[in-house]
């Protein structure tokens, strides 16, 4: 017997149970419900609890003696010069890294789009930095830039035949620069993938027509390739910006945020405050301020993306 559905009713047919859905729009909600419940459990509840903790004096050393202190932790935060400098440094880290990765990624993707033979092999080799865990990349670059036994200083010794002891991870601004180098090395392939996909999706007829009209390689790149890639650029830069805003692994391994807070980023400071200094409430407040900034930034970026897609 054919199953019969009536709006809002359940009918039993031939021994089976068939749910009659009232509106088609309820189906997506039902399908998404498990994921929503999981997210509420894994993300939503901890975030709410963390917000509550940020309004208390909770420490890991005395977890049962908790007092509500209101916005005291947030006020402390904005008087903490280490936090304010870490925040500015994180924004600078994000700006430099994302723009460097954008330029390098675009150039590499453009070059790769012209490779005819062994493109697959070349792509695999260029993607390799992305395959390593950030912690391993951190150890790698910590060794490369080690002033005593590191690769860079030893290469310089071979070139100049005289010991070259540059403390890459210590002096200002070398420490910050070395961390940026590690980050850019590790993450540029992500930009390459996105941009290469975008470049390969440009209809070849447009480029051929431009060539027939006498456009140079540079003109084609500026007037066709880049405008066609705009949505891809926004997506890639939005994703990378959020990644960089939560940078921790690389910095933690290479310098620990030091020496003397010289390479301190937001999340290395949060970790130290919350887990080593046991000031969990203050760490929670700091996390919330950072997440709020990240959410605003993401909202702004996606508004811009929508404008671009609508041709405004």
């Amino acid at each position: 017997m054919e199953p019969r559905f009536e709006s809002g009713k359940m009918r039993v047919e031939g021994g089976g149970i068939h749910w009659a859905v009232a509106e088609r729009r309820l189906l997506p909600i039902f399908l998404l419900l498990p994921a929503i419940v999981l997210m509420l459990f894994v993300i939503g509840f901890p975030m709410l609890y963390s917000l509550y903790l940020s309004l208390t004096n909770y420490t890991l050393l005395n977890p049962t003696n908790v007092t509500f202190v209101g916005l005291k932790n947030y006020a402390t935060l904005f008087r903490d010069t280490v936090f304010l400098r870490a925040l500015l440094r994180t924004v600078l880290y994000m700006l430099i890294a994302v723009n460097a990765e954008f330029v390098l990624g675009l150039l590499i993707a453009h070059a790769m789009s012209h490779v005819v033979r062994a493109q697959g092999v070349l792509r695999t080799i260029l993607m390799m930095p992305m395959m390593f865990a950030p912690i391993l990349v951190g150890f790698q670059f910590k060794w490369i830039f080690n002033d005593q036994v590191g690769l860079i200083n030893n290469v310089l010794f071979e070139i100049f035949r005289h010991p070259v002891i540059i403390p890459w991870l210590i002096y200002k601004p070398l420490g910050f620069i070395t961390i940026l180098i590690g980050e850019i090395w590790m993450s540029t392939p992500f930009m390459v993938i996105i941009f290469l996909a975008g470049i390969l999706s440009i209809p070849p007829e447009i480029l051929e027509a431009a060539e027939v009209d006498g456009a140079s390689e540079w003109q084609k790149f500026i007037h066709i390739t880049i405008p066609s890639l705009t949505p891809f650029i926004y997506i890639a830069m939005a994703v990378r910006s959020l990644d960089l805003a939560k940078a921790y692994d690389l910095v933690s391994i290479m310098t620990g945020g030091g020496p003397a807070h010289r390479t301190e980023l937001i999340w290395t400071y949060v970790f130290r405050l919350a887990f080593t200094s046991q000031k969990f409430a203050l760490g929670s407040a700091m996390s919330y301020v950072t997440v709020a900034i990240a959410v605003l930034f993401t909202f702004f970026l996606f508004k811009q993306l929508i404008k671009v897609r609508e041709g405004r």
Binding site: N62, D147, V149, P163, I170, G258, P259, A260, T276, Q278
Partner: protein, 305 residues
């Protein structure tokens, strides 16, 4: 249940201290005889003098330069110079004259290039690697690294170093930051018997003997008796000397950090300031005062006063 203890002693390169040419150069440069330092003042002067005659890439000394490792090294010099970390009312006291003298020694050694410039990024593995690479003339290190340091396939310093008690300071006290690794069973454990069985296994005489052969300072007297007896048969005098020196230091110089949960949070506040002083970002007294103020606030929030 204790498993290992550890304390640091002064490791120094015998091939440098006993070299006639080095001794001559040192005397010509400083007017002093080159000898293994007994006090922290002598340690500083010897390091500064040595650095003037060492080849590029070799350093008179080094210390672990970050995290609790650095706070501990500062702490043991502070104590030796007659200072305290906390006073009897748990107020920070490391910013007194002894603390200023201790951190000034680190800063002056760094400024003079007598320590590797990357020192503020070193923890235990890094200082040990510099030693086995042959780049360091003398420094304070834990006994537990001995088998690595004497392995000729891994260490350029193998067979070329000796050990002495750590220097003493103005307080007449010998440095000796020490502690132990131990096992405990929490009250909430659901498997207390299994945990106890594991602890008994991992601290039994056979296990401790194996660990002692690697260089760890174990806690069973029977194992100590056995390894001291065996060390006299190796033909390497240092094998026995290090065991006897470790026991002597443990009996006379053993100093733990303040045994309070706030030691690590206090260290977390202090060590970036020590680094800033060493690197010249802050003056010694001003930096230590700033750290003391933050540590005092932390102790107040913890309910100490």
């Amino acid at each position: 249940m204790p498993r290992h203890f550890d304390i640091s002693c002064l490791h120094y390169r015998t091939d440098i201290f006993e070299d006639a040419e080095m001794r001559r150069k040192f005397k010509a440069e400083t007017g002093m005889d080159l000898k293994v330092p007994v006090t922290w003042d002598e340690f500083k002067q010897t390091s500064l003098g040595l650095q003037k005659i060492l080849p590029p890439g070799v350093y008179a000394t080094e210390f672990a330069g970050k995290e609790e490792a650095h706070t501990g090294r500062f702490y043991e010099v502070l104590i030796a110079e007659g200072g305290q970390f906390f006073d009897s009312n748990w107020k920070p006291a490391f910013n007194g004259p002894a603390g200023v003298k201790a951190v000034t020694m680190f800063r002056d050694l760094y400024d003079a290039g007598a320590m590797p410039p990357g020192m503020t990024n070193f923890v235990w593995e890094d200082v040990a690697k510099n030693w086995v690479a042959g780049n360091i003339v003398m420094y304070t290190e834990w006994y537990g690294w001995y088998s690595y340091f004497q392995d000729p396939t891994a260490s350029k310093a193998a067979g070329k170093f000796d050990l002495v008690r750590q220097p003493r300071g103005d307080g007449g006290i010998y440095s000796g930051w020490a502690g132990q690794h131990a096992f405990s069973i929490t009250g909430a454990s659901q498997q207390k018997e299994a945990a106890a069985a594991f602890i008994k296994f991992i601290t039994n005489a056979d296990q401790q003997y194996r660990e002692a052969k690697l260089g760890f300072l174990v806690t069973r007297q029977s194992v100590w008796d056995r390894i001291i007896k065996e060390s006299k048969e190796t033909g390497v005098d240092l094998d026995t000397k290090r065991l006897e020196l470790a026991q002597f230091q443990a009996a006379n110089d053993f100093k733990t950090p303040p045994l309070v949960a706030q030691w690590l949070p206090a260290s977390d506040i202090l060590y970036p300031v020590l680094q800033a002083i060493i690197l010249g970002d802050k003056e010694p007294k001003a930096g230590l005062d700033e750290a003391a103020s933050k540590v005092e606030e932390m102790m107040r929030e913890a309910g100490y006063y």
